[in-house]
């Protein structure tokens, strides 16, 4: 046993293992310090967790678009954050018009539904156009090439939105029906967070059913398994890919509306970039290519981002931990990719030929 271990010994693995142990000890120390210091009450923790869940469900919806596209094309669709932005930014005008005319106060649920329809449509159209113009002609090119077009498309979409709608920040209106809070497990939770979480979860379950049960969902899985064989089996690959982009766009549009409900301040042309990066992180966290993985990854990333800086960094005596929130999210990403590259649910991609 021991001899076999020494025969296969590699310095790289050994040092990586040491590094891993060090990280875990550091996290534990931080955790224990914070908890034993008792700096926050349980109500405060609950607030952080629910805010994290609501933010996380937005990440999850965007992440699903990444994961679906990646599963099928092995393409990091860098412009996916911009698809999300386009839906959210277009809908803000409808929302404000409805708020001005009083329609929003009279029929709050109807108007929120109309926001979803508009944002979903716009994002879907942008996603499908993007696929048609920027990605389809490059199918079969080396992987770096579509990555660069994706980056280019990201810039082009951002500045198209800026040209169309202007560069100002715009606010979603407050929805009176969603203010106030409800009590869950004895903690006060804002209604809007509950609505966002529940609606997102319903969408995710619906998507999972779509991918697992319907015919087009089956062909999506077949195409992600092997494009050529799927084509031989009579599947229209182009149609499946367009559908994938459309679904990703629809979910991103929904995420845009949730974002507007959840944090009304600030939709503008650059709003998609960082959520896009985060959502990609979430997709990787769950195991890219896996639908439940992206959903869980998103929720988890939301919680990690909202709770862990306070929980661990403050315990380690690092000041202004909230500034490091994003760094923490990316550190989690790096650590997970290094130590469990397949993510929580994913197939082991890193071992495959990239």
């Amino acid at each position: 046993m021991l001899r076999r271990y020494f025969e296969r010994f590699s310095w790289v693995d050994f040092i990586l293992r040491l590094f891993q142990i060090f990280i875990i000890i550091a996290m534990l120390v931080g955790l224990i310090n914070t908890i034993s210091a008792g700096r926050y009450t349980s109500a405060q923790w609950a607030t952080l967790v629910f805010a994290g869940l609501a933010q996380g469900s937005i990440y999850a919806l965007i992440a699903l678009g990444y994961t679906l596209v990646y599963g099928i094309l092995r393409l990091i669709n860098f412009a996916h954050g911009e698809i999300y932005m386009f839906g959210a930014l277009t809908t803000v005008f409808l929302a404000n018009a409805q708020a001005r005319s009083g329609f929003l106060d009279e029929h709050p649920w109807l108007s929120i539904l109309s926001w979803f329809l508009l944002a979903g449509t716009v994002s879907t159209v942008v996603a499908v156009l993007l696929e048609r113009i920027a990605y389809r002609p490059l199918r079969g090119a080396p992987r770096l090439v579509p990555l660069i077009t994706a980056i280019g498309a990201s810039f082009a979409l951002q500045y198209t939105a800026r040209g169309l709608y202007g560069a100002e920040f715009r606010r979603y209106p407050e929805v009176a029906a969603l203010s106030g809070s409800v009590s869950i497990l004895g903690f006060d939770v804002p209604v809007v967070q509950v609505v966002v979480i529940v609606a997102a979860v319903i969408l995710m379950i619906g998507l999972n059913g779509f991918v697992e049960r319907t015919k087009i969902g089956t062909s999506m899985r077949a195409v992600s398994e092997d494009k050529e064989v799927a084509r031989l089996m009579g599947i229209n690959v182009d149609k499946v890919i367009v559908t994938t982009f459309a679904i990703g766009g629809l979910l991103a549009g929904a995420a845009g509306v949730f974002n507007g409900l959840f944090r009304p301040a600030g939709v503008f042309f650059f709003m998609g970039f960082f959520p896009g990066l985060k959502a990609f992180t979430a997709a990787v966290l769950g195991g890219i290519g896996s639908v439940p993985g992206a959903a869980i990854g998103g929720l988890l990333l939301g919680i990690i981002e909202s709770v862990f800086p306070n929980l661990i960094l403050e315990g380690l005596g690092i000041p202004s931990a909230n500034q490091l929130r994003d760094a923490f999210a990316f550190t989690m990403l790096v650590l997970i990719l290094i130590f469990r590259p397949q993510g929580i649910f994913g197939e082991k991609l890193a071992e495959k030929k990239a």
Binding site: P142, L164, Q323, A350
Partner: protein, 582 residues
């Protein structure tokens, strides 16, 4: 794309391209490009860039229709179709005009309470006036249709007219437009060479005067019409070998002298652009080793740039953040060494990762470094959001390098050194190992290549180049701020080396000239810089996925599945005029 169109009926092709052209024209109008650029005159004071942008859609419609139909129909019929496509491309513009008139200028007539401008900020009355050429709606709409038709005809003509005349006209028009667009650059060079006299003869503000414009057109026309470049080349080939050698050497020396004279020929402002291009070439050469040779996709390359800059800052600054009183020259090797060390440190954990996962982890590293640099936590060491101030300029023999012109030489030196190192490494054992690893890691390992050291060396050397660039930047600017080290820089460098041609040294130079140089020269169009940058990236990748000056093997790979590709096409391409790098 063109193959499926063989069976399409002519009228459908015409309408399709007309509609696409129309969408393009509406797009550039609705995002405000037409109106903003209409204030920038190109020739005289009425011919503005705005109309050139507006014409892009109809022009494209005419060109593509003519190209598709050229082989199927007679010249005359194809020309007719492209004129039709041009006319068709006015359709959505007319719709847009109606929308502006009803939604913005007279919303009360359409029964609306608010104008459409609340949403679409660039649908202005001014745009409507531009679209109707200031002639009122009814007459203006007719003129707009006529305009689109004429431009469509011009597009068709650019394809269908017989050759010496065609290339003469195309080159003449392009040259005139280019000089008009780049007039700021041209004036600065003229200013440096000849003072204001010639500028005042040729330009009014930024616009070409009509007569010089005609002269420029005539120059371009005659160059292309009489096939001057091709004749020169043929005459050069006919020279005896030793004369050819001598001419080549002469050209090389002339190129070198030009490279050294450049900052004094172009003036202060353009020297800053040259400095930046040089800096990016230096970094691009480093990333080219990591991505182009070793095949490790690194999206966090800016981190090493930041390490270099911060190392220079901390080592040399005169504020209380400084820990030593080193000069630029003594600190420089330490900065490079720090970069190399960080390359090793960050390279180590990712040794086991491949492909996209590697890309994402490195992207994460880059972001972590930037966020940490911005945070208050590390502020006592590196200044946090306030950055590091008062970094001394380099001093050489008592002479301070503090202008863009002098710093250009420093960066040129760095880039040439990096190019030399890259060139030598590429042909050395290590370079071969990198390329073998890029093609197949498992096979390389089986062949006895030590993947650990090979990968780490790629990361370390790439990081060293980047740190060198960072150190030079810190000394040039005298101040560094964390927010200047964001993801856009990594993306820019990566895009530059891919646009230029991955793995090729002249490619790095060309790529950076395009992606860093062009935006710097077109600074006056700052509002639409990133839009054009994004569209440029997409178009270049669609049209030339292998980049402008690709490495021979990569070019062959990318075109291996195309029919009609002969071995001669795939032969190594000799970069023309690659300056001092070869």
């Amino acid at each position: 794309m063109i193959q499926n169109q063989l069976t399409e009926p002519t009228s459908r092709i015409m309408l399709k391209f007309g509609l696409i052209g129309s969408i393009v024209a509406v797009y550039v109008s609705a995002i405000g490009m037409v109106e903003v650029f209409s204030e920038r005159a190109l020739i005289g004071d009425s011919f503005s860039l705005g109309y050139v942008i507006l014409a892009a859609g109809p022009l494209g419609a005419g060109i593509f229709t003519a190209r598709v139909l050229r082989d199927r129909l007679s010249r005359r019929k194809a020309a007719g179709a492209s004129i039709g496509a041009g006319a068709a491309s006015s359709s959505l513009l007319l719709v847009l005009l109606a929308v502006i008139v009803l939604g913005v200028i007279r919303p009360e007539q359409a029964g609306a309470e608010v104008t459409l401008r609340v949403m679409f900020v660039n649908l202005t009355p001014g745009l409507a006036e531009l679209l109707t050429f200031g002639l009122g709606n009814a007459l203006g709409a007719l003129i707009l249709i006529l305009f689109c038709t004429l431009i469509g005809a011009a597009g068709g003509g650019a394809v269908l007219i017989r050759d010496p005349l065609r290339s003469g006209l195309v080159v003449g028009v392009m040259l005139t437009l280019l000089i008009g667009v780049f007039s700021e650059t041209v004036t600065q060079v003229l200013q440096q060479i000849s003072g204001r006299v010639i500028i005042n003869i040729v330009f009014v503000q930024k616009s070409l005067r009509p007569i010089p414009a005609i002269l420029v057109f005539a120059l371009g026309f005659s160059l292309a019409y009489f096939r001057v470049p091709r004749r020169t080349r043929t005459r050069f080939r006919q020279l005896p070998d030793n004369r050819q050698q001598r001419t080549k050497r002469g050209l090389f020396i002339a190129g070198l002298v030009l490279l050294l004279m450049l900052p004094w020929l172009t003036g202060l402002f353009l020297s800053q652009a040259l400095f930046l291009i040089g800096l990016y070439i230096l970094m691009g050469l480093g990333l080219n080793i990591v991505v182009g040779y070793a095949g490790l996709l690194d999206l966090g390359y800016v981190a090493f740039f930041a390490f270099g800059a911060y190392a220079m800052g901390i080592l040399t600054t005169t504020t209380e953040l400084g820990i030593t009183n080193l000069t630029f020259w003594t600190a420089l090797p330490i900065c490079v060494a720090a970069g190399v060390l960080w390359g090793l440190l960050l390279g180590f954990p990712v040794l086991r990762l491949r492909g996209d996962y590697l890309a994402i982890v490195t992207l994460g590293f880059g972001e972590i470094v930037r966020i940490l640099a911005t945070s208050d936590w590390l502020a006592p060491i590196e200044g946090g959001p306030q950055g590091i101030l008062k970094i001394p300029n380099p001093v050489i023999f008592g002479f301070t390098l503090n202008t863009p012109q002098t710093m250009y030489y420093l960066v040129l030196l760095g880039a040439v050194a990096a190019g030399f190192v890259t060139l030598r490494l590429r042909d050395a054992r290590l370079g071969r190992q990198w390329m073998s690893m890029r093609e197949d890691e498992d096979v390389s390992e089986a062949m006895g290549i030590n993947l650990v050291s090979t990968k780490l060396l790629a990361f370390a050397i790439g990081a060293g180049f980047s740190a060198l660039a960072g150190a030079i930047l810190a000394a040039r600017q005298s101040t560094i701020f964390p927010h200047s080290f964001n993801l856009i820089i990594s993306i820019n460098i990566l895009a530059g080396i891919i646009v230029g041609g991955l793995g090729s040294i002249p490619g790095v130079i060309v790529g950076m000239l395009i992606l860093v140089g062009l935006p710097e020269l077109l600074r006056e169009f700052t509002e639409y810089r990133f839009l054009m940058y994004g569209i440029l990236l997409i178009v270049v990748m669609l049209v030339k996925p292998e980049g402008f000056l690709p490495e021979a093997t990569r070019k062959r790979e990318l075109h291996s599945d195309e029919p009609g590709m002969t071995p001669a096409d795939a032969a190594p391409m000799e970069p023309a005029g690659a300056g001092g790098q070869d």
